[in-house]
């Protein structure tokens, strides 16, 4: 502090001055932009259009894009401060290679040499599939497309998956089972046109505020929210269903039971567009309201009433997020939801859809163009026709394409523990905070011979463990496309240069391919993401996710286009999938899939009497790699808390703001601030998962959906103890 400031002659008036920005109007001079770059938000899958203000090569401001069809100018608090993620402290700025135990700066050539040489050596010694790759939902579609080819055809390992398996894999496999293909059939407009909106395990007020904005525009709709916790969203509901944790399958089966019995189904739709109704009908026979009431804790009348409400609705929307997906029965829950929509014909019409709200900004992009749980363009590994078609398009021998998918994320981790996976490449994700059962994950990463972590930030809890850190450009520093939850492809543009020597992931992939010697074969003539996009348009042509009519120019002019979009298509005609009742199955019919409710894997016991629920808060994104570095967000939400019902707190003699430990069979989260609140039921506690310091995944379990491999994050058995005075984390 200088003397002029100390005596008060200087009040930093220049820093706190205001001026007129041509676009934004009167604003702090700190926010004055020389130019505004149109782009799409890089946090969640809502896919809001925004403008990034740039001055002197720095991103200084963000504004919602008024012309973007998704958000109409609005943004959530993370979006409103997103420019701070770019110049934040802790960006990865040059490659780091571990030598003698310490990460040391190296040049890009040396880094790529080291990576490729080690990978090849390990693959030579332990087989090609001893290399695994875990990517993300954060890259642009062009990068996912390039990465898939590089991993599967370049490195020739099938063991490639994304952190999207921790997020929406159950929605993917649920859609595939019911409809024959992935792809959310609805549109955000449905929030505005539905007459009944049924949210299951979705706290959109906290996690997708801009969808909440769209929902609240629809004042006439009846909002039903099924959530064991009284979330902000549940409080907005006309009917809140405070069901017991993970009993949603019973609830939905009960609704189907009532609808069949009361003939509030659409026999014509069932007859023409589905198969399996008889089996479904038989399977829900015992899900009477009384039986379901016993499982869910809801009254039989409530179940009956909600079923009738849905059955009599003109256009009911069902939307869900992690309350459904984060479950060892997630896929089946999605199937149950789809069953409900199908037997009532509530799909493919305005307002009526079973809509999975996705997590990350471009989780959809990796689902479409990636090469993880299916081949690019929703092509199935198992289908010879799909393999032949893709091989022909790529001009390669069909035998080079795998006939089945490789290991999913949790199985890669298990493979590493077992020593089958020896080298791992992690891209834009932070498993130390996001993967369940931290202890097992640490064992896995510690056993690896070589761990490459490619990220925009360093240090993160994961880059700290790396053998090699590759510094990547992030949102705002590169070009490409994102697809949002309503299949809307939006353009992502570069506003500023990456810091230091960091490179766009796309460039990193190209460099690796060149070093590997497969660049010309895989990426012929490619220089920029546009080249990948042009190839992807051809590859996706004729598929459900048809991009062939989409160009960068069209995206820029329309603020996003929903696929499928063949050339010349009317962008407004593809708002919804399955409008004609034809599905992507071989017979064109959707499958009704009987689903049985089962209790969640780890019920509470005397020793671990609470069901731990995990989730998010509006200020933070995932593992806080970004939002912990945005000062205003971290100020608003600096640390975790544990929600507990007053009845339980009284019994345990705990008071608000006490520091508590959450203990499971697997580990302990220490020093969490206790929030005594009526928003959670007795016997349940809730912990946000964003915080490395109080890592919820120290206690979560290794239980996975058998079909999607998605972890059961939402329920595990814990006890709560007062933190010993000597171990308190804060005052």
């Amino acid at each position: 502090m200088n003397l002029k400031r100390l005596v008060g002659l200087d009040t930093l008036a220049n820093d706190y001055a205001y001026a007129d920005d041509a676009l934004a109007g009167y604003t702090s001079t700190q926010r004055l932009a020389e130019r505004w770059v149109e782009t799409t938000c890089g946090y969640c899958s809502v896919g809001c259009g925004m403008l990034v203000g740039v001055r002197n090569g720095k991103a200084v401001a963000v504004r919602g894009n008024p012309l973007h069809p998704v958000n109409q100018g609005k943004l959530c608090p993370k979006g409103l401060s997103e420019h701070h993620t770019l110049a934040a402290e802790g960006r990865a700025v040059y490659p780091l290679l571990r030598r003698n135990g310490a990460l040391r700066r190296v040049g890009w050539d040396e880094a790529i040499d080291a990576m490729v040489e080690r990978f090849i050596a390990i693959q030579a010694a332990h087989g090609p599939e001893s290399l695994a790759v875990i990517s993300t939902g954060q890259l642009v579609t062009e990068e996912f497309y390039a990465l898939g080819k590089l991993v599967q055809l370049g490195f020739r390992t099938r063991n490639y998956d994304g952190n999207t398996t921790l997020c929406m894999a159950s929605a993917v496999s649920g859609y595939k089972r019911s409809f024959g293909a992935d792809g959310p059939p609805g549109a955000y407009e449905d929030f505005e046109t539905a007459d009944v909106i049924f949210l299951i395990g979705a706290n959109i007020a906290d996690n997708h505020p801009i969808l909440c904005h769209r929902l609240t525009k629809n004042a006439a709709a009846t909002l039903v929210v099924a959530d064991p916790r009284v979330t902000k969203t549940a409080m907005l509901a006309d009917i809140h269903l405070p069901l017991k944790p993970r009993t949603d399958i019973a609830l939905i089966n009960g609704m189907i039971h009532v609808l069949i019995r009361t003939r509030l189904i659409d026999p014509d739709y069932i007859e023409r567009h589905t198969t399996g109704f008889a089996e479904l009908k038989a399977s829900v026979e015992r899900y009477t309201p009384g039986y379901v009431a016993g499982i869910t804790g809801l009254s039989p009348e409530t179940i009956y009433r909600v079923a009738l409400l849905y059955g009599r609705a003109r256009a009911p929307l069902i939307a869900w997020t992690m309350g459904v997906n984060h479950s060892a029965q997630g896929t089946e829950t999605v199937n149950a939801i789809n069953n409900l929509a199908l037997i009532t014909g509530n799909i493919g019409r305005a307002g009526a859809a079973p809509l999975s709200i996705t997590g990350q900004c471009n989780a959809m992009g990796t689902r479409e163009a990636g090469f993880t749980s299916s081949m690019p363009g929703y092509r199935k590994f198992e289908s010879e026709q799909d393999r032949n078609e893709l091989a022909a398009l790529w001009n390669i021998d069909p035998e080079r394409l795998p006939r089945s998918r490789g290991l999913a994320y949790p199985d890669i981790i298990e493979g590493a523990v077992a020593g089958r996976i020896r080298a791992l490449w992690i891209i834009a994700t932070n498993p130390i905070v996001s993967f369940p059962n931290l202890d097992v994950l640490r064992q896995a990463l510690n056993r690896l011979d070589f761990l490459v972590v490619q990220d925009g930030y360093h240090p993160t809890p994961t880059t700290e463990l790396a053998s090699l850190v590759l510094p990547a450009a992030i949102w705002g520093e590169k070009e490409g496309t994102y697809t949002n939850s309503e299949r809307r492809v939006s353009k992502v543009n570069k506003a500023v240069d990456p810091p230091g020597e960091a490179l766009p992931d796309f460039d990193i992939f190209l460099r690796i391919a060149r070093r590997l010697g497969c660049a010309d074969a895989l990426f012929p003539g490619w220089e920029s993401p546009r080249d990948a996009f042009e190839e992807w348009r051809r590859i996706s042509s004729g598929r459900l996710c048809d991009y062939s009519g989409i160009t960068y120019e069209l995206l820029e002019s329309r603020g996003g286009v929903q696929w499928p979009h063949p050339p010349g298509a009317d962008p407004d005609s593809t708002k919804r999938l399955y409008t004609d009742g034809r599905f992507s199955t071989e017979d064109g019919r959707a499958r009704l899939i009987p689903v049985e409710w089962r209790p969640f894997p780890e019920p509470p016991t005397k020793e671990f009497p609470f069901v731990l629920n995990t989730g998010r808060t509006v200020e933070h994104w995932h593992t806080r790699t970004k939002t912990a570095r945005v000062p205003v967000l971290n100020y608003l939400s600096p640390r975790a808390w544990l929600e507990m019902n007053p009845v339980d707190a009284k019994r345990l003699a705990l008071k608000p703001h006490d520091q508590v430990d959450v203990v499971s069979r697997r580990g302990r989260v220490s020093g969490v601030e206790l929030r005594v609140t009526e928003t959670v039921a007795p016997g349940q506690v809730f912990l946000p998962f964003h915080f490395e310091e109080t890592n919820a995944n120290a206690v979560t379990q290794s239980a996975f959906d058998p079909l999607s491999r998605e972890p059961n994050y939402k329920q595990c058995a814990v006890r709560v103890e007062k933190t010993p005075a000597s171990k308190r984390a804060w005052r």
Binding site: L6, G8, S28, C212, V230, M235
Partner: protein, 515 residues
């Protein structure tokens, strides 16, 4: 003012029939005008702008807060708009409501009334309460006066800042940043007739908020129909000690000592005694001057301390500065003349009276409704008893006398302890949240200092009685300083609800990780 005002550009636009001025978040992302209802219209006499906040629409996303922070380029911990929570009900019928608040642009703004430098004005055109950072000297008195905690001190700048409803944006026909950012349309700008509002201000009240009538907050709040009877601020169990304001601890304690000493000296001199008087006066003067020097360190802009004299007609802070300045001048002349052995008795009386006036003004500064534990006679009594105990004790310690002044001092110490005990009793029995919370602070984190303060005061009685007057003075002064420290940190201001986890309070582990 009379007749419609049309000089603010936005009003010119409105009066010219431009239908584009938007106040309800329906504008584009930049708050730029779009087709919407043309409100606010031009203001008639007695009308002003105000916020409307709809508690039934808010989902607590904090967009307004972040947008405000961005708009004003404020550091992460300064939030001119804040969002708090109240919670009630019983599972599963639990309720949580959010309150977002900027400035309430009160009809009788207490920030403005107390400001010693006239940095605030109630804008003649719009009725908005505006703060001028250039005029501000960083005394932070407004932050004590506002019952809602609206003005916030920016220590980096040395001045206060607050919400001005984005006056600059309004002038452009754009909506404020918070209104523009709110995805739920929960914040709006309206026009209110100030005369009618004095009758209808009830709708400025909301659960968890201080009563609106203290300043006639103009913010209209739409409150949900049925709020559970057990609804409380979610932060009600989180009570933290306030800032100690060390320069003010020193300043108040030493001015009171100095005034008390000059009063005692005047009585002694009037009685014709002169032994050691000049030395005692020098000591008392030194204490007074140290106090005044210390007081400037409290300011964000010490170089402009003189500006604080300006608003003596209105602000008790100005009056305090004025009276103590006059006191210091009189005391200096009086002390000099005592040294020369020919001080007029009248000057001694004037010095003491100016000083007593200064103490009275001091006490009035703290008698603000927004700080309930201060807003009691205990404050005035405490300040005068500090003067009555420390001042005579100083004189007796320097002159070596053991006269009635010593007995007065010792009695005043005992009275001070009684006063403190009565205050604690009042706090402990109080229903009002802020008073009960003060009692909780005394019973928990401040307990040890409280015990120390009492022990020192008892020593301050015992030592002079044993003949150790100088030692008695030192422990007494320590006791009063400890007491004054407690005075500052134990007050719990009125405020809106906050969030559950204290903002900005990352765990030690996390701070370590960040470092």
């Amino acid at each position: 003012m009379s007749g419609p005002v049309t000089t603010l550009p936005l009003l010119e636009r409105a009066s010219a029939g431009d239908p584009l001025f938007v106040i309800n978040g329906a504008a584009g992302p930049t708050g730029a005008p779009r087709n919407a209802a043309p409100l606010p219209r031009e203001l008639a006499e007695h009308e002003q702008y105000r916020f409307h906040f709809d508690m039934t629409k808010c989902i607590g996303c904090h967009c307004c807060e972040v947008a405000c922070n961005e708009q004003n380029g404020n550091p992460p911990h300064i939030h001119w708009r804040r969002v708090g929570e109240i919670e009630g009900g019983v599972y599963p019928l639990a309720q949580r409501f959010h309150l977002s608040m900027g400035c309430n642009h009160c009809l009788e703004p207490s920030c403005l009334r107390g400001c010693p430098v006239n940095a605030y004005q109630k804008d003649a055109l719009t009725g908005l309460v505006l703060h001028n950072a250039e005029a501000c000297i960083g005394c932070q008195y407004c932050t004590w006066n506002c019952p809602y905690g609206v003005p916030q001190y920016n220590e980096e700048r040395g001045v206060v800042g607050k919400c001005d409803m984005c006056y600059g944006r309004l002038s452009q026909g754009r909506e404020p940043a918070c209104v523009n950012a709110c995805p739920q349309g929960a914040i709006e700008i309206e026009v209110v007739d100030a005369r009618r509002w004095r009758e209808e201000f009830e709708s400025a009240n909301a659960p968890g908020l201080p009563p609106a009538e203290s300043t006639f907050s103009t913010t209209r709040i739409t409150v949900p129909d049925a709020i559970a009877a057990n609804a409380v601020k979610v932060n009600e169990h989180r009570v933290r000690p306030e800032h100690p304001h060390w320069p003010l601890v020193i300043m108040t304690a030493l001015t009171q000592l100095s005034v008390g000493a000059f009063g005692a000296l005047w009585v002694r001199v009037s009685a014709g005694e002169s032994n050691g008087i000049a030395m005692a006066a020098a000591g008392a003067l030194a204490a007074g001057l140290i106090a005044l020097a210390a007081s400037t360190l409290h300011l964000g802009r010490p170089v402009y301390a003189y500006r604080a004299l300006r608003m003596w007609r209105r602000s008790w802070l100005s009056r305090e500065v004025l009276l103590f300045t006059l006191f210091a001048h009189a005391a200096a002349v009086y002390a000099a003349l005592l040294w020369l052995g020919r001080a007029p008795v009248a000057l001694g009386a004037a010095t003491a009276l100016l000083g007593l006036g200064g103490i009275f003004a001091s006490a009035r500064i703290y008698r603000v409704p927004a700080r309930p534990a201060w807003n009691r006679p205990y404050t005035n009594i405490e300040f005068f008893l500090t003067a009555l105990s420390c001042g005579p004790m100083l004189m007796e310690a320097v002159t070596g006398a053991r006269g009635p002044a010593l007995w007065l001092a010792v009695t005043a110490v005992a009275a001070q302890l009684l006063n403190q005990l009565l205050k604690l009793l009042m706090l402990a029995r109080a229903d009002q949240f802020e008073l009960a919370a003060s009692a909780r602070l005394f019973a928990t984190g401040l307990r040890n200092i409280l015990v120390l303060r009492f022990a020192l005061a008892l020593a301050g009685i015992a030592l002079p009685l044993c003949g150790l007057t100088a030692a008695g003075l030192i422990v007494l002064l320590c006791s009063e300083i400890a007491g004054r420290y407690l005075f500052f940190v134990s007050v719990v201001p009125t405020n809106m609800a906050a969030t559950f986890v204290a903002p900005g309070s990352a765990s030690r582990r996390h701070r370590r990780a960040a470092a």
